[in-house]
Amino acid sequence: MFIRERRLFACLLVLVTGLGSSALALADEMAEGVERWGVNMTQGVTPVSRDVYGLHMDIFWWCVGIGVVVFGVMFYTMIVHRKSNGAKASNFHESTTLEILWTVVPFLILIVMAIPATSSLLKIYDTDEADMDIMITGYQWKWKYEYLGQEVSFFSNLNTPLDQIQNRAPKGPNYLLEVDEPLVIPVKKKVRFLITANDVIHAWWVPDLAVKRDAVPGYVNESWAYVDEPGIYRGQCAELCGKDHGFMPIVVKALPQDEYDQWLDEKREAAAAIKALTEKTFEFDELYAQGEKIYNSVCAACHQPGGAGIPGTFPAIKGSPIATGPMQAHLEMVVHGSSKNPAMQAYGPQISEVDIASVITYQRNAFGNNMGDSVQPIDVLKFKQGK
């Protein structure tokens, strides 16, 4: 029986080393610049994140200390007090002193832990006197950032190519943690985040800032960050929010104040330029090409890249009665959303008139829909204004 157990142990050992070596084999396929085998929380780049890291390590070492004592006694007794070692069982089964001791001592340790935790928590909750405010809104499955009082707002979408996700192309170092437009903030400023959601609950989380707040429809939660060093900090949605919960990352780019100001100016100019385009008349091909881009970043998550949808959940665009029906109904659906299915949001307030015109043109002519018609941005604007 002893031999059999030893043989079993050998088999398990082989299995464990096998696991290790196959994980190492994975290394060859991995992109450069990926930090592997990370085992601990980041210290982050804000005073709060360093506080949180400190608390985490303190409570961790308390646990290790308690563990060493408790498991030490346990393993000692399991090795020494065995029947096979000739140990005779004693019969003690009560000691009020011991019971009081091991109730009071843990209680005192908890008090020691609770004091710094309380002061950190109060600091995190102090959202007063912020230098600037950013409204963050969670959507299925993207984030919207609004710089309050600055007339700048935009959506931030995942921009990892589908080919990488479906294993047809090698994965980049920031696989699933990259977006088309990052949130840009200045360093050494107290930036207040006002967090909410448009549809279901999301959670905005950037580990390096130690900010994780649920984005709840109907609520505006507050949080803040004071970033010390310029850099790019990546995070993800942390609350299950439907199909593409795993595909709505967050990228924060912290810039020195002057670069931030410059970025803000460029953003304003770009917004003005897009507004001016609303008046312009576009060629069909221009609309179609732009529409394909918008379709893939905005629509494809549900309606699928080929326009076939997911039966029973997301309707197809290919041959759909709306995309191949009257233009008015198509505009209605895209601008105001579906009254029956809340997953089809109102895109009117979300994307520009140019993009709405483009994507409608694309949907009516792609996937074999071949309607041959198109719509101009100015028509979209008129539709929005109820004309």
Binding site: L8, L12, A23, L26, M30, G38, V39, N40, M41, T42, V52, L55, H56, I59, I66, V70, F71, M74, T77, M78, H81, R82, K83, A89, S90, H93, E94, E99, W102, A114, A117, S120, L121, L122, Y125, I165, Q166, N167, Y175, L176, L177, V200, I201, A203, A210, V211, D214, P217, G218, Y219, A238, L240, G242, D244, H245, G246, I310, G312, T313, A343
Partner: protein, 516 residues
């Protein structure tokens, strides 16, 4: 008066015998354990490498949801009710449960509930995909049509649990043998008595919250819809008012099981019996006032955060008392390590590790980094798998010879233990690391820096799964034959169940024993 079981299928359909019903509960829960395990393996297979390989994200979410629901409501809870049915009457010297016809019914509605739940996988739009915590409005306004079947399945499971709990309380309070005072009851009976009260207190809350969902979905109410004046956060408060006691429902009977097994193999009485009872009661009480620690990031006022942080940290005190008592029970004993003892010792060690991560999660500012990451997944699997699953397994090995009269195969039992132990740690320990490094839970695909540990976790999961097949084989082999067990089975075990023959006759204690 005494008569044997009926013949054929009617024995199982119409039985009011606590042993038959216990057996059915245990087999049902094992079937659900395998089903939930298959769902888990689909998840781990998809997460073996970055990228989407095996399933689509929509189906992945159905798997995480169904895995949680089936394991919690189908595997763990019915297994403990099965153990209660088999053991409580024998432990307190009663001839059967107090309400045997209700006992039959509370079992037989369960297969219908789970058939309904499983059938949602085949429906248009798929099975529930909003996580086992089913937060509104993802589970109401944005849910697939099958959510209605999910709601009714939960109603039936809740009814079954409430009936089971009423039955257990009635049995324990009314049917103890003369001389068995409350403070002489075996700890398994004590922990189940407390668990039954928890069940009666919180299952109606669960029924309430799913009914509110039903109203929102079909009758245009707006309990959880912000657009209609409702409150999505209300859902979480109500859910976790059920949900936190629910996790103790899954662990208190496990404490009871381990408190029966460790003294037997340490050949020494349980240390601090009274303090164990008080600690269990304190844990049960605290379980009602800590629910919002699941919601530290939801945006509660700071006073709420502080209250729930302090209350949660307090749970460490009675839980610590229990662990210290088990270790002191072992201290200066004369120990042997048969399979039930191995599982119980692993329970104490690994549950304590799960307790440590629980203490870390209680620290609200640190929880802002841990919340909804794999660190949480590691934490609750460390308390539920070595906690609930290992204790159930230990209980089966410990009492199986009493149930069927044959000894199980010890080598196979130990092999099962080591495979499960290694598989479990390979699966769940690396999850602490990826969680701390920033991997959110419930995602079908992940960034490259999490790849190595995920691969290890997936391999561990398949090892753990394979171990359960060995378990099934060992149990069937033991029922069909094997070395005859003595009436005592073990060396001087405590308890009335060891005074009846092995296998236990169809009816035991028709005449109540005298307890000194």
């Amino acid at each position: 008066m005494a008569h044997g079981p009926a013949k054929g299928i009617s024995r199982w359909l119409f039985t009011t015998n606590h042993k038959d019903i216990g057996t059915m509960y245990l087999w049902f829960s094992f079937a659900m354990f395998l089903l939930g395990g298959v769902f888990a393996l689909v998840i781990r297979a998809e997460l073996f490498e970055p990228g989407l390989q095996i399933v689509e994200p929509a189906f992945f979410n159905q798997m995480t949801t169904m895995h949680g629901l089936v394991m919690v409501f189908g595997a763990v809870m019915p297994a403990f009710v099965g153990l209660a049915n088999w053991l409580i009457p024998m432990m307190i010297g009663a001839p059967d449960m107090a309400l045997p016809r209700m006992n039959n019914w509370s079992f037989w509605i369960l297969p219908f509930a789970f058939a309904m739940l499983a059938s949602t996988l085949l429906m248009e739009g798929g099975a529930p995909n909003f996580g086992w915590t089913f937060y509104a409005p993802l589970s109401t306004t944005y849910a697939p049509p099958s959510v209605t079947f999910f709601i009714f399945a939960v109603h039936i499971m809740g009814a079954s649990s409430i009936m089971g709990a009423i039955n257990i309380i009635a049995t324990i309070l009314n049917m103890r043998a003369p001389g068995m005072t409350l403070m002489k009851m075996p700890l398994f009976v004590w922990t189940w008595l407390i668990t039954a009260y928890l069940l009666i207190a919180v299952m109606p809350v669960l029924a309430g919250v799913v009914t509110m969902m039903l109203m929102d979905i079909h009758f245009n109410t707006s309990f959880f819809d912000a657009a209609g004046g409702g409150d999505p956060v209300l859902f979480q408060h109500v859910f976790w008012f059920f949900g936190h006691p629910e996790v103790y429902i899954m662990i208190l009977p496990a404490f009871g099981v381990v408190s029966q097994i460790i003294p037997t193999f340490a050949r020494k009485p349980l240390f601090g019996y009274a303090s164990m009872v008080y600690a269990t009661s304190s844990i049960a009480f605290l379980s009602f006032i800590v629910w919002a620690h699941h919601m530290f990031t939801v945006g509660m006022p700071v006073a709420g955060e502080l209250f729930f942080m302090y209350a949660t940290m307090l749970i460490a005190v009675p839980t610590g008392v229990k662990v210290f008592n088990w270790i002191t029970t072992m201290f200066r004993g004369s120990m042997t390590f048969e399979t039930p003892m191995l599982f119980s010792v692993a329970f104490v060690i690994l549950f304590t590790i799960g307790g440590f991560s629980g203490l870390m999660l209680a620290i609200a500012p640190a929880d802002f980094q841990y919340h909804d990451t794999y660190f949480v997944v590691a934490h609750f699997h460390y308390v539920l798998v070595p906690g609930a699953i290992f204790s159930i397994t230990a209980a089966v090995y410990y009492w199986l010879p009493k149930w069927c009269g044959n000894m199980y195969n010890e080598t196979m039992g130990k092999t099962h233990f080591w495979m499960a132990f290694i598989g479990l740690n390979l699966t769940f320990f690396p999850m602490h690391f990826v969680g701390l490094a920033g991997m959110p839970r419930r995602i079908p695909d992940y960034a490259l820096q999490f790849a190595d540990f995920n691969m290890i976790a997936s391999m561990g999961a398949f090892l753990f799964g394979a171990a359960q097949i060995l378990f099934l084989f060992n149990v069937i082999a033991t029922i069909r034959g094997g070395k005859k067990a003595t009436d005592e089975v073990w060396e001087n075990p405590e308890g009335l169940e060891w005074t009846v023959p092995s296998p236990a006759p169809y009816h035991t204690f028709s005449v109540p024993p005298e307890v000194k």
